[in-house]
């Protein structure tokens, strides 16, 4: 039963990813990416990472994909569909991908050098509690650094999308008032 669920989510992930990189229509690609991200969230659930499952759905499917869809609606989708979708160096790209896939397949064929897992200690705490313990006791400083990173990202995004004529108007109004 768990095998069946795992294969369902894996198929969902890979099918969504393939559709994402092959669709011409940007909205279709974004919707396929949502399918793929939901599949990854399901795989997190089968790997007993419940907190990451929730974070994946809230952050990726909820926030990032809305951002992508808004940007797609801001650019002109019709004109994007007329052009050639793939770049000219596709034989080189395909060769690179085949090389990586063959190397990976060879690694899987000879068996992964994975050491045996340690014996499982039964823990009373749930997944979210364990994650919170590790995050706030051991990694409190990187956690604060991540908040700084998000602040910089907000400022960068707002500054970057400001219209140039709006910036000019601001400068002119400052000059007249000065």
């Amino acid at each position: 039963m768990t095998n069946l669920i795992f294969y369902c989510f894996a198929a969902m992930t890979l099918a969504g990813a393939l559709l994402t990189v092959t669709r011409r229509n940007l909205v279709h690609a974004a919707l396929s990416l949502i399918l793929s991200l939901l599949g990854v969230a399901g795989l997190f659930l089968t790997a007993k990472a419940e907190f990451l499952f929730a974070a994946q759905i809230l952050l990726y499917v909820g926030a990032v994909m809305i951002l992508f869809l808004f940007v797609i609606f801001l650019v002109n989708v019709e004109s994007e569909q007329q052009v050639r979708p793939f770049s000219r160096q596709w034989p080189l790209a395909i060769a690179t991908l085949l090389a990586i896939l063959l190397a990976g397949a060879a690694l899987f064929r000879q068996g992964l050098p994975l050491p045996a897992p340690p014996p499982r200690a039964a823990s009373a705490a749930g997944n979210t509690e364990q994650v919170a313990d590790v995050l706030f006791y051991q990694y409190a400083l990187p956690f604060e650094a991540a908040s700084l990173l998000l602040l910089v990202a907000i400022l960068g995004a707002v500054l970057m999308t400001r219209r140039r004529d709006a910036a000019l108007l601001d400068a002119e109004s400052e000059e007249t008032s000065a």
Binding site: T2, N3, F6, T13, L14, A17, L18, T20, V21, L26, S36, L37, V40, F44, T46, A47, K48, A49, F51, L52, L59, Y60, A63, V64, L67, F68, V71, L74, V75, V83, R84, P85, S87, W90, A93, T96, L97, I100, L101, G104, F108, L112, L114, P117, P118, N127, V131, V134, L135, Q138, A146, L149, L150, V152, A153, G156, A157, V158, M160, T161
Partner: protein, 99 residues
């Protein structure tokens, strides 16, 4: 499921994402492929977190998601600025630094 199964799915996801990045011309699709690659990384981290029965991998996954969100926000803002200035979102039409 064994850890190897998760690593296999992760490898395939990485290859699809890399293919999207190398093959497609549209910059929005390239950003989406970047998200696929970051998800492959997260899948690896979670698989090893399950293998060692230790949650540090999942904590690292949270940081990866944070950085990915920041990257998507700034990247998409850059795309909008680029579209306003040049009117194109194709990777091989942006070649001001090429000679």
């Amino acid at each position: 499921m064994s850890t190897g199964h998760y690593l296999g799915v992760s490898l395939l996801l990485l290859c699809i994402g890399l293919g999207g990045m190398l093959l497609r011309r549209n910059l929005i699709i390239i950003l989406m492929s970047l998200e696929l690659i970051l998800n492959a990384v997260n899948l690896n981290l979670v698989a090893f977190s399950q293998h060692w029965n230790h949650v540090t991998g999942q904590v690292f996954g949270i940081f990866v998601i944070t950085v990915a969100v920041a990257e998507a926000a700034v990247g998409l803002a850059l795309l909008i600025a680029l579209y306003r200035n040049r009117g194109a979102l194709l990777a091989d039409e942006i070649r001001l630094l090429k000679w």
